[in-house]
Symmetry: C2
Subunit: 87 residues, 2 copies
């Protein structure tokens, strides 16, 4: 299934979360990721994210769609550049 | 159509953008909004957003799907509370 993930994480935990999300998904904006995951991969990602997060302060929103073609993406303004993606 | 909007905007322009997005969509996380918009409403929103944004620094990602039911949402951790929504 196709996943959009957005996190809102306190500064001190951001780098761990970024690293985790980039193992599973493509980084498309500051705190936004997308990509194709199996249900098992998504479970793993959520499990690992919960170990990093403080559930009282941080949040993670996941949108799932069965087919990528059901979702159209439009970027206005600055596109995430490749240098950022290599960080 | 059903819209997910995520922005990455420099601090000094955030409050204007937040205000604009809240006129059209529901605020669900720090910089994430969702809701049903007509194509005309979406065009208006993008037009107004571009007046606020610095296109070299800021970005706006919009995901569109024809039907809300094609998109499943899961929130992990802190749900955005009502007090935030009233701000």
């Amino acid at each position: 299934m196709y996943i959009i993930l957005v996190y809102d994480i306190e500064e001190k935990r951001v780098s761990k979360m970024l690293k985790l999300c980039r193992r599973y998904l493509h980084w498309i904006q500051n705190s936004v990721f997308e990509g194709e995951l199996s249900p098992v991969q998504l479970k793993e990602l959520i499990f690992e994210a919960e170990l990093i997060m403080d559930a009282r302060k941080d949040s993670l929103i996941i949108f799932k769609t069965r087919q990528e073609k059901w979702l159209e993406k439009q970027v206005i303004g600055k596109e995430k550049n490749e240098i950022d993606n290599v960080l």
